[in-house]
């Protein structure tokens, strides 16, 4: 099937149309249709996994004209490479879980809720597969609308504040990106580029001064979504107020949009600026790691704690990305997936206990492991994966990030960031201890039921992925590697020398060479690269 990506992306919309014909109130039917739609979407997305050729090219490409008027030509240009492949699969994989997780949690306006979920899925998939900048922007913005309603209608007590903050924050960033995007296009037209296709802009030689502000505009949009310190403040609010499925989707998929944006757009499009901004971004990432960990430690609300742990985890991802070497970027992308699975699972767990007790305060719990043994085991596994215990998914990603960081120009940042690993263990395990162990002294907790079959069914796929990724991550890495190399080559300032170095770079020992090379090469080649661009 050549149009498999389109089919997959718009299947949820078919589900929306079906939902429209189901009368309000028949909640069972509404939930089933939404579940079937997301499962079918997941199955429909599997052929891209099996059919994926391990190379750096964009695959399953569809490229047809869409808007053509005036100076612009937008194309419906979609395709995936090793970077987006797993994010697409992650999205389709998480969505049925998200639907199942709200099976009993959402009783009110089920129809609208499911419609929001499905539109959100289409928007997220669309953003991951877009190879046209304008198309990407449309999907990117479209994501905001269903999430806004999900938090605003089905969220917690303080949902209004959270949802408006979420909306405005993310919108400000992306609107500036829009201006940069338009500017980039007009820059391209001078060299004969006639559409918004991403690949056309890669070879554009932009002078470093212009790159600086273009990168800044793109980076702000992505940094808000990541979210990086100090623009992360919308996230704890949004996470805490969102319904369980909303938190799961936010953590597991939507935050990935930010890091994905960096590696797909901001870094390869503006290589000089990337190097220029690396110290700043690394600093912010490290501050994020430490700061979020410290804040997480003092949280009384489990969900807020998990939300802040997200900020810390994504700080690691950003550090890995800006190490700009193979290990670092691979680790970052892997950690992206891991965070999606582990933190998604954590939010589900928080959802389970919230549904039972309608509280999320750590002090309200204690000793739950005696009452809920299955839950305790699952919670333990997820917690350990979140603190990156070897054998779980979190370890592989974090290890690669730290290795990559040490071997790059970010050595000192990495050393500081390493302490974040310890902090993470502290706040996660402490939280686990206070919730699960100790005396079961609260009478309300003594009547708690253990997980039911549906809840176990939700968690099993995630647990399986935690171990698969933790023990045997190679198949995942293999499919990413060629694309990662290509991005790194794009981001290096002198593409010719990197092409030569990149071949032996497969041997890990040789990785130190290009990383060290990058710094001295930079000032020499910069004017040389800039000069032909001026003419």
């Amino acid at each position: 099937m050549s149009n498999i990506l389109s089919v997959m992306t718009f299947l949820p919309i078919v589900g929306v149309l079906l939902l429209l014909f189901i009368p309000k109130g028949s909640n069972g039917a509404l939930r089933s249709v939404a579940l079937v739609t997301t499962v079918v979407t997941f199955i429909a997305s599997l052929p891209i996994l099996t059919g994926y050729q391990t190379n750096a090219e964009y695959q399953f490409v569809e490229n047809v004209p869409w808007i053509a008027a005036g100076p612009f030509a937008m194309r419906y240009n979609i395709g995936i490479d090793g970077i987006s492949l797993w994010l697409v699969i992650l999205t389709t994989f998480i969505m049925p879980i998200a639907v199942l997780s709200t099976w009993t949690a959402v009783e009110d306006k089920v129809k609208e809720y499911m419609i929001c979920l499905l539109i959100l899925e289409t928007a997220m998939l669309g953003a991951f597969i877009s190879l046209d900048l304008f198309l990407f922007y449309i999907f990117w913005e479209l994501m905001l609308i269903p999430m806004y309603f999900m938090i605003g209608i089905w969220g917690g007590k303080n949902r209004l504040y959270a949802t408006v903050k979420f909306f405005i924050y993310t919108l400000v960033g992306s609107l500036l990106m829009l201006v940069a995007l338009i500017y980039l296009y007009f820059l391209g037209t001078k060299t004969g580029i006639t559409d918004f296709s991403l690949v056309h802009f890669f070879d554009l030689k932009i002078d470093p001064a212009t790159q600086t502000w273009l990168f800044a505009a793109f980076a702000l949009a992505f940094a808000i979504k990541v979210p990086m310190f100090p623009v992360h403040t919308w996230l704890p609010d949004a996470h805490t107020e969102a319904p369980t499925a909303g938190s799961v989707i936010l953590a597991a998929i939507m935050l990935k949009m930010g890091t994905y944006g960096f590696i797909r757009f901001a870094m390869p499009l503006f290589p000089e600026a990337t190097h220029q901004f690396t110290p700043l971004i690394a600093t912010l990432a490290v501050i994020g790691i430490i700061y979020a960990a410290l804040v997480a430690m003092v949280q009384e609300d489990v969900k807020k704690l998990v939300a802040y742990s997200s900020v810390a985890h994504l700080g690691f991802v950003m550090l890995g990305l800006f190490a700009l070497n193979e290990q670092g970027v691979t680790g970052a992308l892997l950690q992206n997936l891991n965070h999606g699975i582990s933190t998604g699972a954590l939010f589900l767990i928080v959802g389970f206990i919230y549904e039972r007790r309608h509280t999320r305060l750590i002090t309200d719990f204690g000793g739950l492991s005696k009452q809920m043994p299955i839950f305790a085991v699952i919670f333990m596994i997820v917690t350990l994966s979140s603190v990156a215990l070897p054998g779980t998914n979190g370890f592989v990603g974090e290890f690669l990030i730290l290795v990559g960081g040490f071997e790059s120009s970010l050595r000192w940042w990495t050393i500081v960031a390493s302490s974040g690993v310890i902090f993470a263990a502290v706040y996660m395990l402490w939280m686990f201890q206070r919730v699960m162990f100790g005396e079961l002294d609260n009478p309300k907790n003594q009547a708690l039921l253990d997980l039911n079959a549906r809840e176990i069914a939700i968690m099993v796929p995630l647990l399986v992925m935690i171990f698969v990724l933790g023990v045997y991550p190679n198949p995942f890495i293999e499919k990413m590697t060629p694309s990662i190399k290509k991005v790194i080559a794009h981001t290096r300032i002198e593409p010719i020398t990197t092409a030569k170095v990149a071949v032996p770079a497969v041997v890990p020992a040789a990785e130190a060479v290009p990383a060290d090379h990058a710094a001295p090469v930079q000032p020499v080649t910069e004017p040389a690269a800039a000069k032909p661009a001026a003419h």
Partner: protein, 487 residues
């Protein structure tokens, strides 16, 4: 002076103004018919005017692609005029659709309403088609005087009276400026033909000619008043609030587009050589207009006042496209005006249904719970709000994209940045309506007006018009592109 009648008729080609003729004749006929229609069934007049509007629309589109001038070059039928005529007819049609229910409720359903709407439309069409200063003035006055009447149409309401009066006094004042400017231009160049002015402007020294500069700016003042650009916007909130809601809807879309039409033609055809001067003025006004509009709208509880300030902001966005002077920006204005007609009249159509008798100016709080009780109506309002806010995939987004692109293309990057920051601020007050509709519980005993067939039709058309051009904009964009090729 002896007039050769045969020669005179040769220069008259009625086809050029056929849509205007249709509407004028129908309007006068309806004034007569009105006498025989009992006051309970003025709705028939609405349907009759609608037929005329559709007919005029057909008459207008048949000329697409050709440029025919008539009446000694004072009126032209070209793509530009036709595009705007379609906008005006849509605005008039939608306004007529939502009028009957509201006017009956407010007990001011006098039959003159529909003919006056038609005459306003004729005025607006003349403004878009005029290629002579005098014809522009003629159209502007026909439009304005009819609008003064429409604003004060609910004669039992003090607010409506105030609106009509205020609009009239300030409008007359701005017309004075316009006329004075025209007089100065005529004094300097010796002609009132827009096309001839362009050549003469360079002869008399362009921007170095003070009289010409003053004349141009005075004329601009007149138009800026009509499009409610800051600092000539003061009348807007009061007039919009006081006027009957369907007329507010009409006023916010049609005359604004007409103002832009005349301004575009005048500046692009007569003063292209002075672009540096007018574009400097326009970007300053664009920044001012956007900012004043948006930041005042943030504080409004009354939804009509909020939309009045938001319409000021929207004029500001269009001025961003205008200031660039590029084809992208100017065709963006055309696209934007078309989509704005749908989304804004759509929003006002919802307001028409929400208002209570005697207290037609609902606050945002009155929308609490609408999402539960009238999901479809709330959905429509959501589409309009998101489109006004410029969220993809709506027409409002594509429109803003083209307007801001024009600015970027012309090198006004910071202007585009101010523009997008402004639209980010605007999102707050549009979202507020959505917040009340979906996130706040409503009063139980509150009952809204039922949706009658004409209003439902208007809502469906508006919603489709706000959504479809956002997803498949190519065709309309191409029409807009062809339309701005003025010379």
């Amino acid at each position: 002076m002896d007039i050769n009648v045969a020669q005179l008729f040769q220069t008259i080609n009625l086809n050029v103004i056929m849509p205007e003729v249709i509407l004028s004749v129908l309007g006068m006929a309806l004034l007569l018919v009105n006498v025989f229609v009992p006051s309970k069934s003025k709705g028939y007049l609405a349907w009759l005017s609608l037929i005329g509007i559709v007919g005029a629309g057909f008459a207008a589109v048949t000329g697409w692609g050709t440029t025919v001038s008539s009446f000694s070059d004072s009126v032209v039928q070209d793509n530009f005029a036709i595009f705007f005529k379609i906008i005006f007819l849509l605005a008039a049609g939608l306004a007529v659709l939502i009028s009957d229910q509201y006017m009956s409720r407010e007990e001011c359903n006098h039959g003159e309403l529909y003919p006056i709407i038609l005459f306003t439309t004729v005025g607006m069409m003349l403004m878009a088609a005029a290629t002579d200063l005098m014809t522009i003035f003629l159209g502007l006055e026909l439009m304005s005087i009819s609008l003064y009447v429409l604003a004060g149409f609910n004669r039992d309401s003090i607010k409506s009276n105030e609106a009509g009066m205020k609009y009239f006094l300030l409008g007359a004042f701005s017309t004075g400026f316009l006329l004075y400017g025209m007089a100065l231009i005529y004094g300097v160049t010796g002609t009132t033909r827009v096309a001839k002015i362009a050549a003469l402007v360079t002869q008399v020294g362009g921007a170095s000619n003070t009289m010409l500069l003053i004349g141009m700016f005075l004329m601009l003042t007149g138009f800026l008043f009509k499009i409610a650009a800051a600092p000539f916007h003061m009348w807007t909130p009061d007039v919009y609030e006081g006027a009957p809601t369907p007329m507010t809807a009409f006023m916010s879309a049609g005359p604004k587009a007409a103002g832009f039409a005349a301004m575009l033609r005048l500046l692009l055809v007569a003063f292209p050589s002075m672009i540096a001067d007018w574009s400097d003025l326009l970007w300053i006004l664009a920044v001012l207009t956007m900012t004043v509009g948006n930041f005042t709208a943030l504080r409004q509880d009354n939804i009509k006042r909020m939309l009045a300030y938001s319409s000021i902001a929207h004029a500001g966005y269009c001025l961003v496209g205008f200031a660039s002077g590029t084809a992208t920006g100017t065709s963006g204005i055309l696209f934007y005006m078309l989509s704005y007609t749908f989304m804004n009249i759509g929003a006002f159509a919802v307001i028409v249904l929400i208002g209570k008798k005697g207290e037609p100016n609902g606050t945002v709080m009155d929308y609490a719970g609408l999402g539960h009780k009238r999901p479809l109506l709330a959905l429509a309002m959501t589409i309009f709000m998101f489109s006004l806010a410029g969220m993809p995939p709506t027409a409002g987004f594509i429109g803003k994209f083209y307007l801001f692109s024009g600015a970027v293309q012309a090198g006004y990057i910071w202007l585009a940045i101010i523009g997008v920051l402004n639209s980010a601020a605007s999102v707050y007050y549009y979202l507020r309506v959505i917040v009340y509709m979906y996130f706040k519980p409503g009063e139980e005993e509150f009952d809204w007006f039922s949706v009658t067939a004409p209003v439902a039709l208007a809502l469906v058309v508006s919603a489709a018009g706000s959504l479809i051009p956002g997803i498949i904009p190519s065709m309309i964009l191409q029409f807009a592109q062809q339309a701005v090729k003025l010379i």
